[in-house]
């Protein structure tokens, strides 16, 4: 790959109003008003896209065949939501980028997903902890989007919340089974919750200007999480570490490797389709 679509540094220089920054290379030179709404939708799209890619890594590696199929199906649902959200984000941006351009031709610093979804799968307990917390966040999020004033987001939310409800049910079942299972499964499930817990803070960071302020999801999120953890005989870890930065493009080192695999075909054969 010779050219990047765009090189975003850690401190992007704001473009003065009325000026046009020409983007060399693959995208047509066009003004790119990076709106608040675009960033918000891109964040949700990237959550779903990166979660889909991580879950797909379980293909042919599941602990049992049914679980292999389940994780692939959940990955497919996430990918479906990601495609709709990326398409909409591209339209909001108005720079001619479609879902493929956004998925395949951005570098890690341009991704807006939360850190939780890019963390490695770990063992099965870590994967289930990640999926459980993601679904506990996405269900109230999509439900709230379904009732928001943005028609496109409302349609996507109404569709995706039904699928997320199944993800939450599935992950809750495993968290309970492992947490309230053998000594070893309990130990591993508790370790997984402890490992992932600090990353939840970022999910509910207040954003009052967003179509749905993530802070408003806290009550639903907390009630599901505390109920399931208590049924699973798991304890809430005590920690004051709150890693964040994904929504601003500051990621863990894990995302670059994930993107390398996700984007390699498209980077080698731009515009490939089948």
């Amino acid at each position: 790959m010779t050219a990047h679509v765009e090189q975003t540094g850690p401190e992007p220089v704001p473009t003065a109003p009325g000026t046009t920054s020409a983007v060399p290379g693959m995208t047509p030179a066009a003004p790119k008003p990076v709106t608040k709404r675009f960033e918000f939708v891109l964040g949700l799209a990237d959550d779903a896209l990166v979660a889909a890619q991580r879950l797909a890594e379980w293909c042919t590696r599941g602990p049992e065949m049914e679980e292999d199929i389940a994780l692939a199906n959940i990955a497919l649902d996430q990918l479906g939501a990601a495609r709709l959200l990326l398409t909409y984000a591209g339209e909001l941006e108005g720079a001619g980028r479609d879902e493929d351009a956004l998925a395949y031709r951005r570098d890690d610093r341009e991704f807006r997903n939360c850190l939780l979804v890019e963390l490695p799968n770990g063992d099965f307990a870590v994967t289930m902890a990640k999926l459980f917390f993601l679904a506990a966040y996405q269900v109230p999020l999509y439900t709230a989007l379904a009732g928001c004033g943005d028609e496109r987001l409302a349609a996507i939310g109404a569709k995706a919340r039904k699928e997320s409800a199944y993800h939450l049910e599935h992950a809750s079942l495993w968290v309970r089974r492992l947490g309230d299972g053998t000594d070893e499964s309990h130990r591993r499930m508790q370790a997984a919750v402890d490992e992932v817990w600090p990353y939840l803070h970022e999910l509910l960071t207040p954003d009052p200007a967003a179509p749905v302020d993530p802070a408003t999801l806290r009550a639903d999120f907390d009630s599901v999480v505390s109920r399931v953890l208590s049924e699973a005989t798991l304890t809430v870890p005590e920690t004051s570490w709150t890693p964040a930065g994904g929504r601003n493009g500051l990621h863990t080192e894990h995302l670059s490797y994930l993107l390398a695999e996700l984007q390699v075909l498209h980077r080698a054969h731009p515009g490939a389709s089948w």
């Binding site: 389940a70 497919l76 569709k159």
Partner: protein, 158 residues
């Protein structure tokens, strides 16, 4: 010449080969522009990531061309979101005959702790259990009958 509506309505779902897209409830409308003869078909996916959508679009265009409507456009809408409640009675009967337990009514919003039983499509026994919440396609769960021991697919209420 078959009407455009009839041609499209007869298209079979590629993953549930026993029922048509109309019986499945994913065919929303078929409109023919009188002046040009162009047909605009509107469909909605069962699941957002349903990989059968491309095949369905191609099948619709093929069916229309065969029925004398070469000019066709297939549009996809997401709202209102598809529900298994839209599957017709005839469609449900066909699914059951093919060994796929049709979905029950969609649960109202909110946590409902009780699970309604799913009858075995082979022997009719209500004594069945879920093996996996996710089956061979996104829309199906895998179950087993405790009476006749046969595994079967169940179309999940959505």
């Amino acid at each position: 010449m078959t009407t455009a509506r009839a041609a499209v309505a007869a298209v079979v779902d590629p993953e549930l080969r026993v029922i048509t897209i109309e019986e499945l409830g994913i065919l929303r409308s078929v409109a023919e522009e009188p002046a040009t003869g162009r047909v605009v078909v509107t469909i909605t996916p069962t699941y957002t990531g349903c990989p059968a959508m491309d095949v369905i679009r191609a099948d619709i265009r093929r069916a229309l061309a065969a029925a004398g409507h070469p000019q066709a456009e297939v549009r996809t809408v997401y709202t209102p979101a598809w529900s298994t409640d839209w599957i017709t009675e005839a469609g449900r009967a066909k699914l059951a005959r093919a060994g796929i337990a049709p979905p029950g009514p969609v649960r109202p919003a909110g946590p409902v702790p009780l699970t309604l039983t799913v009858r075995c499509p082979w022997c009719g026994s209500p004594e069945t259990e879920q093996i996996s919440r996710f089956g061979s396609t996104a829309c199906k769960a895998l179950r087993r009958c405790r009476s006749c021991t046969e595994p079967f697919d169940h179309l999940k209420a959505l």
